[in-house]
């Protein structure tokens, strides 16, 4: 943002201050996440930089926390549990969410706004309330503490994200394509899978990623609805943070940061691709 020549001196000064503020905010956003990465290679069981680390001596660094993560039974069970729950929950969210979004995009749905509001609500309602409600409900119907129970709960939490992303891709969807396809003799199913689906696929996938990360990152509902045998990675981290705080958490955190960078990249690429396909931006 180059300033025009006619700007006053006062405004030039303000512009510098403004940029400082913005830099500070960006620093505030990113620094806490970056700091934990070097800390996770700490050779000591401390949560701060040791003198050896600051002098970049190799004995100050080690992989022992990573080693602990990959050998400790508790962490490994938690990891396996997370990977057993998240993909299935994502699959359910994506299937139901896509269908709901496509259905709601039709113009003749009665109470459209109300249905939309109810479907989005799990994203807005505090997790603690959803968790408490599910706990009471599940203990009544016997799903409390079961694998299926958690998967269903996570699927419900993921659906809003799928609906939002799919609805966003449907905005630019040309209705005449489905009509053309029907005109050429394709049934509704075939039209959906062969014509509509490829076009909204970017939205579906990024919604799925959101749903996946929601499930993968979710603690509150698991704490209430799950039992000890369904301990997930976030649960293990949560108890770790509350009780026996160990630097292994930082190693796990670093791995998760890398995972989120990967996911972010994928979503960003998908978004651009989707906009290119639909010709919204060049």
């Amino acid at each position: 943002m180059a300033l025009p020549v006619y700007t006053s001196r006062l405004f030039r000064a303000w512009d510098i201050i403004f940029k400082c503020i913005c830099t500070f905010v960006f620093f505030f956003l990113i620094a806490p996440i970056i700091v934990i990465i070097p800390l996770s290679f700490n050779a000591q069981d401390f949560f701060t930089f040791t003198p050896e680390m600051l002098n970049f001596q190799s004995e100050g660094y080690s992989l022992k926390h990573y080693n602990d993560f990959f050998t400790n039974v508790d962490w490994q069970t938690a990891l396996t549990n997370s990977f057993r729950i998240a993909p299935l929950a994502t699959l359910i969210s994506v299937a139901l969410g896509t269908v709901a979004a496509v259905g709601l995009s039709q113009s003749d749905v009665p109470f459209k706004k109300l249905i939309m509001a109810i479907l989005i609500s799990p994203m807005i309602v505090p997790l603690i309330i959803s968790a408490a409600g599910m706990y009471f409900f599940y203990s009544r119907i016997g799903l409390q503490g079961t694998y299926i129970g958690i998967v269903l709960a996570h699927a419900a939490l993921g659906i809003p994200f799928v609906i939002i992303t799919v609805t966003a891709t449907l905005v630019g969807f040309d209705k005449s394509l489905t009509r053309a396809s029907a005109n050429l003799g394709a049934g509704p199913m075939r039209t959906f899978f062969r014509v509509q689906m490829p076009l909204i696929l970017p939205g579906v996938i990024s919604g799925g990623l959101f749903a996946f990360i929601t499930s993968f990152d979710e603690v509150v509902v698991v704490l209430f609805v799950g039992s000890a045998s369904q301990k997930t990675l976030p649960w293990q981290m949560f108890t770790g943070l509350r009780e026996q705080i160990s630097p292994t958490i930082l190693a796990v955190a670093t791995i998760l940061v890398i995972l989120s960078i990967l996911l972010l990249t994928v979503v960003e690429l998908l978004r651009r691709r989707s906009e290119r396909i639909r010709g919204i931006s060049a």
Binding site: V25, F26, L29, I33, I36, M116, A117, I164, V257
Partner: protein
């Protein structure tokens, strides 16, 4: 859950005969008749066999402390009784515990005999349902109103902080050319995508007394090594960590609104003689109001129900109402009270959600 918050079947289910007999008891200045005590003995005998009397005891203990032990004590004796004999039960009960001769207790039992109660909700706002009607709790026992107040106060503070920090950044990003804007957006999106627990643990590590921030302060010489600052397990820690976590939710809606404001408006204002400040205040800011509204409501809704972060970095002075709900549901097992607190919170959030929907429209929410 809403059902839970008013449910109160336990009294009538555990002591059906007693309640029936007790309904005939209208003169509450004298103790109930022998018949009531006889029914009580019969009901308790069954209850002891099913071990439900202790549960009833702990339920009534929420309203009048000490009752739980009375029930337990009585249960042990009732077990040995031979109910078929029609002897003086009133005296027998009084011999076990003097509380059975307390009229206050019988009034309470009658008060809580209906299947539905407002007792939990009253408890949740620090009122208590007594035999003389509804009254406020003692000054020292009022915690929930205070907690609601604190939750709202801290959420407002966090929202304002987010707005203060988010507005300049969103403005900057929206004014930059596409390429550098995308780069800076990643700085906003990365925290947004990073696991909540990762961010919370990062703050826990940073803010500890032996943590990085204190180390830097000591190194710079602002703080002595012995009086390191207490940055965590208090309100400060919660506010800092939650502002960080919720900031992207403020920046993204602001950005999407600001992107649509044409630069030419501000230029026009300036060419008409307005200075920088006036053109911002009179022309730019009003156009960004929808973004401000969207961001603020979103951040406020999210922060009011936060659980994880206050639980980990909040200590005792930085906890929210949701921590109390969790406590009642998983530790003290006072499900009714937990559900009542949650219902109040739910209503508050739903009202805000409705407002949000009216102003912005829920289908306009954008992610990433």
């Amino acid at each position: 859950m809403l059902f839970r918050s008013v449910e109160n079947q336990i009294v009538s289910r555990t002591l059906p005969g007693t309640i029936e007999e007790l309904s005939k008891w209208d003169d509450d200045s004298v103790l109930p008749s022998e018949q009531v005590y006889y029914q009580l003995a019969k009901d308790l005998k069954i209850a002891v066999e099913n071990k439900t009397h202790t549960r009833l005891g702990s339920r009534l203990n929420y309203e009048m402390s000490g009752i739980a032990s009375t029930f337990r004590k009585t249960g042990r004796s009732v077990k040995k009784w031979d109910i078929d004999q029609q002897i003086n039960y009133k005296e027998k009960f009084l011999n076990i515990d003097k509380k059975w001769g307390n009229i206050e207790f019988w009034r309470l039992l009658k008060l809580y005999s209906p299947k539905v109660t407002s007792g939990y909700f009253l408890n949740a706002v620090d009122l208590i349902k007594t035999t003389e009607g509804i009254s406020q709790r003692d000054e020292t026992e009022r915690i929930y109103l205070f907690l609601f107040q604190r939750t709202i106060y801290m959420s407002v503070l966090i929202t304002l902080l987010c707005l203060l920090m988010g507005y300049p950044v969103a403005y900057l990003i929206s004014r930059l050319p596409m390429k550098s804007a995308n780069l800076l957006l990643i700085f906003v999106l990365l925290p947004f995508w990073t696991s909540l627990l990762v961010r919370t643990s990062a703050w826990k590590v940073l803010l500890q007394q032996e943590g990085v921030i204190n180390d830097i302060l000591v190194f710079v010489g602002l703080v002595g090594d012995l009086d390191r600052l207490q940055l965590i397990n208090n309100q400060f820690g919660t506010i800092v960590a939650m502002t960080h976590i919720l900031l992207p939710f403020m920046i993204l809606p602001l950005y999407s609104v600001m992107k649509t404001i044409p630069e030419s408006y501000v230029k026009a204002a300036k060419s008409l003689g307005a200075n920088e400040w006036t053109s911002f205040r009179r022309v730019y800011f009003p156009q960004s109001i929808p973004g401000v509204g969207a961001g603020c409501i979103l951040v406020f809704i999210l922060s009011i129900g936060y659980y994880i972060t206050p639980e980990i970095v909040g200590g005792t002075s930085g906890t929210f109402i949701s921590n109390r709900i969790a406590y009642h549901i998983s530790y003290s097992l006072n499900w009714g009270l937990g559900a009542a607190l949650a219902s109040i919170l739910l209503v508050a959030v739903l009202i805000l959600y409705y407002v949000y929907d009216k102003i912005i429209g829920i289908d306009n929410v954008k992610l990433g």
